[in-house]
Structure formats: structure tokens, C-alpha cells
């Protein structure tokens, strides 16, 4: 009988900080956008309302993936699970795909409002950073 032991590095303090911040960022984003998609976010402007109203069903599904995968990834990060890497990756792919489609059909809110352009850029940048961080933690052996 033999035993296999996996050496895990000591959990760095910043993992907890990053995990909690990503959970808050992605959780609040998921809540807001899914509420808006469901028509339960009051007082959105007419452009934004038209944007959500015109979304085809498949786009709503990919948006759900883009929103919920990072939330699950943040939880996985808290649990020090290597699944965080793949979940962040799935979220990033969905975010990029949705934005590419939105820009291609000229429906992106970023095209009509500078604030939305900045928010879109920040969202993509954070999604990339989350993925890079999870990959680094996995390479250091922090994630199981």
C-alpha cells in the first residue's frame, strides 16, 4: 500500500483578498445585469431598455455564462479549487464572444455612450486579470 501526497503551498493572504473582491465584483455584476434582463431593474434608460429587449435567447444564455462562471470561479478560488481557472476562462470567452457579437451587429451600448465603453473595457480587463491570477496560483500549487 502506498500513499500519494500532494504538496500544497501555503495559501497567500492575497488569495483571500482577490477571491472576495472578485466574488463581490462578479456577484454584483451578475445580479444587476440579470435583473435588467428580467426587466426588474427599475429606471433604466430607453437605450438600455431597447438593448435588453432586443437580445435573442441564445445571447441571454451566453450572458448568463459570462456572468455566473466568474461567480463560481470566485467561490472556487475561496475553496482553493483549480476549477477556478477553467471557470474564469469560460467567463472570459463568453464575455468576449458577447462583445464581439454586440459590436458586429452595432448593438453594443459602448457605441452610444462613452461611459459604457469604459465599463466594457474595464470588465474585459478584469476578466483577463482574474484568469491570469488563477493561472499563477495554480502554477504555484496553491489551487488543488
Amino acid at each position: 500500500m502506498s500513499t500519494v501526497s500532494v504538496a500544497l503551498s501555503k495559501t497567500p493572504w492575497h488569495l483571500w483578498a482577490v477571491a472576495i473582491l472578485t466574488l463581490l465584483w462578479n456577484g454584483s455584476g451578475a445580479f444587476t445585469i440579470m435583473m435588467a434582463q428580467a426587466g426588474r431593474l427599475p429606471n433604466i434608460d430607453a437605450n438600455e431598455a431597447a438593448y435588453y429587449a432586443a437580445q435573442p435567447p441564445w445571447f441571454v444564455i451566453t450572458t448568463g455564462i459570462a456572468l455566473l462562471s466568474p461567480v463560481a470561479a470566485a467561490i472556487a478560488l475561496l475553496l482553493r479549487s483549480r476549477a477556478a481557472l477553467w471557470l474564469f476562462a469560460a467567463g472570459l470567452v463568453a464575455i468576449v464572444a458577447n462583445n464581439v457579437y454586440d459590436f458586429a451587429v452595432g448593438a453594443s451600448l459602448a457605441l452610444v455612450d462613452r461611459g459604457w465603453m469604459i465599463l466594457t473595457a474595464i470588465t474585459v480587463a478584469i476578466a483577463v486579470l482574474q484568469l491570469l491570477y488563477a493561472r499563477a496560483m495554480r502554477q504555484r500549487g496553491v489551487l488543488r
Partner: protein, 360 residues
């Protein structure tokens, strides 16, 4: 064996009792004080050339092969909306063929026609009759598509027993004209509206001031012969006026919306002066009941938003434009739905103009 015999005895007794009750009811029932016209269609009257006042040679038809044509001409869909705030009833009819209301055959019978028999039940008449009082008539209106070929208009008549048709040969014996309205046709669809005042009684009573319902029967005819089926339904009665504005696809900025056109409807919350309450509370609209246009398209997405910037929440609903069934014959577009008002669900109706160009 004995149980079969017993069953037969019981069945016979039940049948005998039923027959006795029917006979007793028939004997007790008061005789009708009048008879309805026996001339169902003036097509029959028009068969007599001396009663036909119009030139019938414009586009002659023959009745040859009528059975097939009669079979093919049927109602696909129909509805009536009673818009109480605007005191009118809107009739929509979808047929299986493009009806030709102007062509007549060599006998003067109109190629295609229809008749609505519209009845507004009156509570007063019900209570009087159930209390043993005399039969009380309330207006039964007949809308005669059969008369369109005379001058292109639709004639509504109030049914009047013993109406003298000799002075009004087009009447078919039904009764005097209460309204002449324009009939609008877009291929297989026919639409018209009637003011609710056609139901007012001669004594000034207005049964639709507080309507319970409007019932109607609908029958189609070809060359004066019935197609053999009668549709019957109850009109939708909308009692609450909803302030709406419609934003058409060309005015919606989302380019994806223009590729799959969306129509946005703002349903506005309105308040009484000096904050004494709300005239219409869009927050209490049941979004699942919203229907827009003749085809009664359903809302695909909605949200609450202060559309008019007056500080209260309005309802912003989006509809797929291709599901509305709007055509050039629709001067207006109507939104209906249910709203909770004083804890009671009421049907509301809102109207805005249809920007579609006129029919050619």
C-alpha cells in the same frame, strides 16, 4: 335478468317524468309578443328585380359552382373590442378569402357578405323579466355587410319587429338604420367600428353606460346563401383608459432591434392633481396580459422606468412588430391589458396613432 328489467322500469319512469316536465314548462311559458323577421337576408328580396335599386352589372358573378365557393369562404378569426373610454366597439374579422363586397351576380346578390348580430344584455330587462314583468326588449343591432355593395358603407340597423321593408327595401325587413360606418378591408381582413350609442334605447336608456358584456353572432354569406356556420363570441370590454405612447422601430436606437423590429410602448402612470391619488397606475399592470395590435401580440420584454420624467414609475413594454398584425387600414393601434384598480382586476385600453401609410 331481474336487474335488467328493474333498470328498464326506472329508465322509463325517468323519461316519463322528463316528458311531463317539458310539457308543463311549454304550457306555462308566455307566448312571445312578436315574431322576428323571417327574411334573413335581403339577398332573397333582391332576387325580385323590382326591389333592387342598384346597377348590378359592374362585375357580374354567377352562382354556378357556388357550393365549393361557399365551402371555401369561412371565418378564420374574429374579435370585438369594446373601448368604453372612447365609446366605440372595434370589430376585426379575418376571412379565408379576399371578400368582394361590391360584385353582385345577375340576380343582384352580393358575392361575399357577412352579418353581425350584436346584443348588449341589460340588467334592468333581466330583473324585470325574472320578476314576472313583461318582456322588455333592448336593442339588438344587426350589422349588415350585405348592404355594402349599395354605396360601399356598412349599415347597422336596430332590429325592429314588423318593420315595414317596402319603404326601405335594402333593409331585408330587419329594422331602421342606426348608423352607417366605413368598412375597411386589407385583403382577407375586414375592420370597422361602431359607436356604442347604437345600443341606446328609444327611451334614452344607454345599456352600455355600464356594460356587462356584448354578445355577438357572426354569419357569412355567398350570393345571399349562408355558408352554414355561425360564429358566436363575447366581446372584450375595456373600461379603463390607459395613457400610452408607442415608439416605432425606426425610432428605437438599438440596431439589433431594427433588424428584428421592436415596438416599444410607454404606459404612463398618471396622477390626480395635488397628489390625490393615481388615475392610472402602470405599476399595477399585469404584464402577462398585455396585447398590442389586431393580432394581439404579447410583450416580449418590459420594465418599470420613469419614462416621462415626472417622478413616478411607468411601464415600458417591447413587442415584436411582426406579431402585431398592423396594416394600412388601422388608423390607430390599441393596447389592452389588465390592471389592478381598487383591488379589482379591470381591462384597460390605450390608443396611439399608427404611422403606417394609407392603403392604395
Amino acid at each position: 335478468m331481474s336487474s335488467t328489467f328493474a333498470s328498464r322500469i326506472v329508465l322509463s319512469l325517468v323519461l316519463a317524468q322528463g316528458a311531463f316536465l317539458v310539457a308543463a314548462q311549454t304550457a306555462a311559458a308566455p307566448r312571445q309578443s312578436h315574431e322576428w323577421p323571417t327574411v334573413a337576408m335581403d339577398s332573397d328580396l333582391q332576387a325580385r328585380r323590382d326591389l333592387r335599386p342598384v346597377n348590378f352589372s359592374a362585375k357580374p358573378f354567377t352562382a354556378a359552382g357556388a357550393p365549393d365557393a361557399v365551402r371555401d369562404y369561412h371565418v378564420v378569426r374574429h374579435d370585438v373590442l369594446v373601448d368604453l373610454p372612447r365609446s366605440e366597439a372595434i370589430f376585426n374579422l379575418w376571412l379565408s378569402q379576399d371578400p368582394d363586397f361590391e360584385a353582385v351576380d345577375e340576380m343582384g346578390r352580393q358575392s361575399h357578405s357577412f352579418q353581425y348580430f350584436v346584443d348588449a344584455p341589460a340588467f334592468g330587462a333581466f330583473y324585470q323579466r325574472s320578476g314576472g314583468g313583461a318582456e322588455q326588449l333592448h336593442p339588438l343591432v344587426i350589422v349588415r355587410g350585405e348592404e355594402i355593395h349599395y354605396n360601399g358603407n356598412l349599415i347597422a340597423r336596430v332590429v325592429e319587429p314588423f318593420y315595414d321593408a317596402t319603404t326601405d327595401p335594402a333593409s331585408g325587413g330587419w329594422g331602421p338604420v342606426v348608423r352607417t360606418v366605413a368598412v375597411k378591408q386589407d385583403r382577407k381582413r375586414v375592420s370597422f367600428s361602431l359607436p356604442l350609442s347604437v345600443f341606446d334605447g328609444k327611451d334614452g336608456s344607454a345599456p352600455l353606460a355600464n356594460p356587462v358584456a356584448i354578445h355577438y353572432f357572426l354569419e357569412l354569406y355567398r350570393f345571399g346563401s349562408t355558408t352554414g356556420t355561425i360564429e358566436q363570441a363575447v366581446a372584450q370590454v375595456a373600461t379603463v383608459d390607459a395613457p400610452i405612447t408607442v415608439v416605432w422601430p425606426q425610432d428605437i436606437q438599438d440596431s439589433r432591434a431594427s433588424s428584428r423590429p421592436l415596438v416599444a410602448v410607454n404606459i404612463l402612470t398618471t396622477t390626480l392633481p395635488r397628489q390625490r391619488g393615481r388615475l392610472f397606475d402602470a405599476e399595477k399592470v399585469d404584464v402577462g396580459t398585455l396585447e398590442l395590435g389586431p393580432d394581439r401580440g404579447r410583450a416580449r420584454w418590459s420594465t418599470l422606468s420613469d419614462v416621462d420624467g415626472d417622478g413616478d414609475l411607468d411601464l415600458l413594454a417591447f413587442f415584436n412588430a411582426v406579431h402585431l398584425g398592423l396594416s394600412c387600414i388601422d388608423a390607430d393601434v390599441r393596447l389592452t391589458g389588465e390592471v389592478l384598480e381598487d383591488e379589482i382586476r379591470k381591462v384597460f385600453v390605450g390608443v396611439d396613432a399608427n404611422p403606417l401609410v394609407e392603403c392604395h
